[in-house]
Subunit: 349 residues, 2 copies
Amino acid sequence: MKKKLTIKDIAKELNVSISTVSKALNDSHEIADVTKKRIQAYAKEFKYKPNFNALSLKNKKTKTIAVLIPNMLKYIYAQVFNGIEQVANELGYKIITCVSNEKTSKEIEILEMLSNGSIDGFIISPALETSINKDYVHFQNIIEEGFPIVMYDRAPKELDCDKVVIKDHKATYNAVEHLKNTGCKNIAFISTHTKLASTKKRKKGYIKALEEFGLDINREIMIDMTGIHYKEYEKILTPILEKHKIDGVITTNEATGIAIQKVAQKLGYKIPENFSVIAFSNGILARHASPQMTTISQHGEKMGAKAAKLLIQRIENENETLEYETKIIQTDLVMRNSTKKFLKLNYNV
Amino acid sequence: MKKKLTIKDIAKELNVSISTVSKALNDSHEIADVTKKRIQAYAKEFKYKPNFNALSLKNKKTKTIAVLIPNMLKYIYAQVFNGIEQVANELGYKIITCVSNEKTSKEIEILEMLSNGSIDGFIISPALETSINKDYVHFQNIIEEGFPIVMYDRAPKELDCDKVVIKDHKATYNAVEHLKNTGCKNIAFISTHTKLASTKKRKKGYIKALEEFGLDINREIMIDMTGIHYKEYEKILTPILEKHKIDGVITTNEATGIAIQKVAQKLGYKIPENFSVIAFSNGILARHASPQMTTISQHGEKMGAKAAKLLIQRIENENETLEYETKIIQTDLVMRNSTKKFLKLNYNV
DNA sequence: TTGAAAGCGGTACCAG
DNA sequence: CTGGTACCGCTTTCAA
């Protein structure tokens, strides 16, 4: 790497002191206008840039935040990432992105690696393993070390910090309501990570809605697909759909939504005429499914943007002791063609 | 943030000098074993971690690399990111991830922001805008500043640096060959970014294969879908499929592949019996399409892994002047159900 | 075997 | 208005 121009070089070249150069470049009023101009012009001409590490060392601030993502290949997380990236960039922050691959051990390594002054704070969604085992000591530790931290998506209630989450039970409640409104009577629920707190809440919301709307509650059509490979989905779902009278389904992810659509179609159902599907997470699969699938949007980008704002706000007001906040991101039903139309307005991405 | 333990604190606490502590922690032979043990034990007990910025400032190395991604929501880039992340992590590097959103201006900002000692090198795929306008001055500049840089995917031949790419023309050539082998006679080509160098090469490979295999070459079934919203795909493709005799299609992205499958099915074709489809980039859509789509895998993770290895190797051997390398990632046909079987072995992800 | 001091590239206080 | 200097946290050379 070529040697970079430093403040010292400029000082020598222009026969002024180092501190004069520093002040001139920071546009201090202490420096005479002519001197300032001369120095600034020189700096500009030779593309002087203050050294990042020197500044960070001095200020004990890096203008860098760490983002922990369980798995970048999941569309929802790529969306969250996007939201974070945008806001961070606007506010002049860089982001260091790390992937836990759903493993607690990787998470621990990452926190270890980054808690050495590399970054000013963390935005984290815990790994599956971590969430299931409720194994949060490593998070607790960095909180105790005083790192600002915002948890998103799978934010554990056990931790005391800022959070950005969705109202899972409300989301499924609304989905059931829409299905009821469009004429469904027998609504199934398919989930893929039963042990996750959010899945439990989703199921609760679903059951509560069934109760309130006086719909049939049948445990046999609450289907747990945890740990099953997507290629097996149709095989498993077919007999269930043959055995039970089902005219509506809510799934906790897109892949199972697509699978149930295919199975229903094979069995002669018409979607949405006599079979409706609503899937969680408004991702790319839903848009290209046949028919295009109605989804519950978690608004990943919004979630990310909110998390970044919260974190940066906390970083920049470290002196004040603000109360921890939990921001709720509204979910929305994104109406497409796997459900019948209801009078209300609907939008479509 | 809580004050972190420094070498100075340890020195004071144990009544030794700062340099003794430093050496002890680096396991220097200059220090007596007892002293070393005492210092190391203390450091361990109180979780001493060397300050990142101090080290980086001193060493002029950050063990951090910058990754520029045109758009994280595209599966292929999320895959590349994954590959980079893994290798970087293994080799002890952090990554700062930035998204250009396909804009040259954003790219320039990013390079500006990061060329101040924050990072040791770049891994870049240029934005669409940049690629189309062949506007590479900002890249040229950072190369001249001496930054190690690896370009991937859309690596411009005009730039002198390490590269990781795929053989686009070979990929389509092979796809045509497979279609021919399985009985297709009239093979269409659908592309979405005609001005991209890679698209041009893909088309070339397609045409060359048609010629060599003595298949019909018909400009009217080389369809340019550049800039068209995915919702319009079917509308546009339907009349083309009605007008022309087509029994095989190669598309440069998954979304158009799915659209052509739907259109063909609506028009009464049976896939793969009398209509075959091969789409570029083995992503998530292909796996969930009906039928599951045969794809050309660009092996995003491999591409990322390779790029990271190349970059880190270059960073760590800055003294030696290694020749610039261009690594080719083999593409593969991932056989699924949108093409007929041919005798050769096939695998399926 | 240990320690003092210079230096990495800046900022900021204080003296002149 | 300008400059000298200490300091951020660590490494490394040189002297003791």
